[in-house]
Symmetry: C2
Subunit: 339 residues, 2 copies
């Protein structure tokens, strides 16, 4: 892949920097901060509760961004597209959906959306979906009939199953049913911080045993101490998880929602499924986006993560893996069709 000789922790010359999930209010400012932070690739959310035609509208909006900022960003469909973006000094953008709403009730849309560049899809968000159960439901009945069919189709075309917001049994079902490794693009171990969105040791073991990947979240509701979490505590958690999962099965999935108004977190949580307010991980007194921890405010702070990983004892080659090369290897295996 790359030579480590010129490594410079977190800088452009060093590790690949790949973020396993973001949902920013995309703008030239954010893209320039990505370049400043040395970010080579980002999995961006293009849809929450949007149905197919709405998702296509979101892709159209991305196409305009690609046309407007060809010096800063480029769409990626493969690992090699990311390598080329890095050579060009651009940030590669990978599309993902946080719910299966974009495929509606139509398995044929899996291939259509893959052709349009979708590379990740969550089988469920916080609620029950047509495919699986979300982490906020009281009952988790695992993968549905359609869920099993869709996982098989996602496996065929090269669309990564993402279970970040899914409930435990559904997640274990997906890991078992999928013939390709799956991902939890943005979550942390529940033992470190008890949140419905964080994952049990059982899930993390099953994930790593099947070659899957975990992206560590920097969203305050997933962090020990919330917005007051320290870099030291975060990196110590990464080190503990590396013990559990292996240092090559982990990466970053920051869940950064930069510059988004609070109306967006409401859309994420409420969509069109209720007329009431649902505060999800927030509360009536703190309904909006929580402030980012001091050590990771935006895309310019990736070098600080790399430095933090070094300070807890990771080797340069481990840091290269966690900051991006583990994701890159996973993408190489995951995005190509299987016959």
């Amino acid at each position: 892949m790359k030579s480590n000789e010129n490594s410079d922790i977190g800088g452009h010359i060093g590790s690949y920097v790949i973020d396993g999930l973001q949902y920013a209010n995309w703008s030239e400012k954010v893209f320039r901060q990505m370049r400043e932070g040395g970010v080579d690739a980002v999995h961006v959310t293009i849809a929450y509760h949007e149905l197919f035609r709405e998702t296509v509208g979101n892709i159209e909006a991305w196409n305009r961004l690609f046309e407007a900022h060809p010096d800063l960003i480029v769409q990626a469909r493969t690992g090699d597209d990311i390598r080329n973006a890095r050579t060009d000094g651009r940030t590669a953008i990978l599309f993902g959906a946080q719910t299966p709403a974009p495929i509606e009730d139509d398995i044929g849309l899996v291939e259509i959306l893959h052709t349009l560049g979708l590379r990740f899809m969550q089988l469920s968000y916080n609620n029950q979906s047509l495919l699986a159960t979300g982490c906020y439901e009281a009952e988790d009945r695992g993968l549905t009939r359609m869920g099993r069919e869709v996982v098989t189709e996602m496996n065929r075309v090269g669309l990564v199953v993402d279970m970040s917001h899914s409930a435990e049994r559904s997640t274990l079902d997906a890991i078992e049913h999928s013939i390709r490794p799956i991902a939890i693009t943005h979550a942390n171990p529940v033992g470190w911080h008890p949140a419905l969105r964080n994952k049990s040791e059982t899930v993390l073991r099953a994930l790593t045993q099947t070659g899957g990947m975990l992206g560590f979240s920097l969203y305050p509701h997933h962090l020990q101490g919330g917005s007051d979490c320290t870099l030291q505590a975060f990196c110590a958690m990464v080190a503990d998880t590396a013990e559990l999962m292996g240092v090559d099965r982990i990466g970053i999935g920051s869940d950064l929602c930069q510059n988004q108004p609070d109306s967006v977190v409401q859309w994420m949580r409420v969509g069109r499924w209720t007329k009431k307010n649902d505060f999800g991980e927030g509360s009536a007194s703190r309904p909006g986006f929580p402030p980012q921890p001091e050590f990771f405010r935006d895309n310019r702070d990736f070098p600080r993560l790399a430095a933090g990983l070094r300070s807890v004892g990771f080797s340069q080659s481990d840091i290269d893996g966690i900051m991006g090369e583990n994701w890159l290897r996973f993408f190489d295996q995951s995005f190509v069709a299987k016959s």
Copy 2:
């Protein structure tokens, strides 16, 4: 490209055989006949009056055909995909739309559909569209405001402007406004057979002067003598048109509608734009598909076309061009994005 040493008129070893338009009732039988006829590539119509979501459904149906018959057909997006299909012994399938209905009122859908594989789009069918006038309208006001914008966008992404069913002034406008050569994928010179769908010398001259292509139609309503047209008369018309346009700007665009029930020709003509019946090129007494001429019944008859071209005096290299290599060269220039 290819060596002519092994040329065998119309056979698999000889010319590339590329058909500039078909709308068959697709089935394994038709695909096997394509192989039998040595057909390397076909531009297939995937939509007439279908809006975007309906067109996506049609692409989904094609994806199932590709999955079911990987030994016979493969989707093509570039000229090289056609070369690879020929090497594999498969027929390459290129998508096209006969009306601009699939993009609805949304210029962003041009790039979306191109990403999904669309390579040709007519700006108007028989009626006025949002973009241009069709050949059955009494008044032709040329390209509309949106029409000019869409042609520019089609030029950018590499989607070929097809004016087969458009009215004269609109066609001349499109030829002038487009910065890339356009195509009339399926029509004949109106001087040979007076039909609203056939094209004037003015149009054919403007087309060839800008590097565009004409595909000769074998649909009986476009033929001198209709279903009784002879191979000799058809090939003599090709020779005359080669004099006018040059032998490298012409190909075949058979307009073959194999095994389609008459309800399909009604959908083509009537869509959802009228509650009455419109017989288009047919008539109340002959509302259905006319019988194919004896010399071109289906995809197995391409070798007969090649033989017919030889009999009117074309050289082998001219025949290679008309049977497919002219289209292949045009596709190489036309399908790639231009920045």
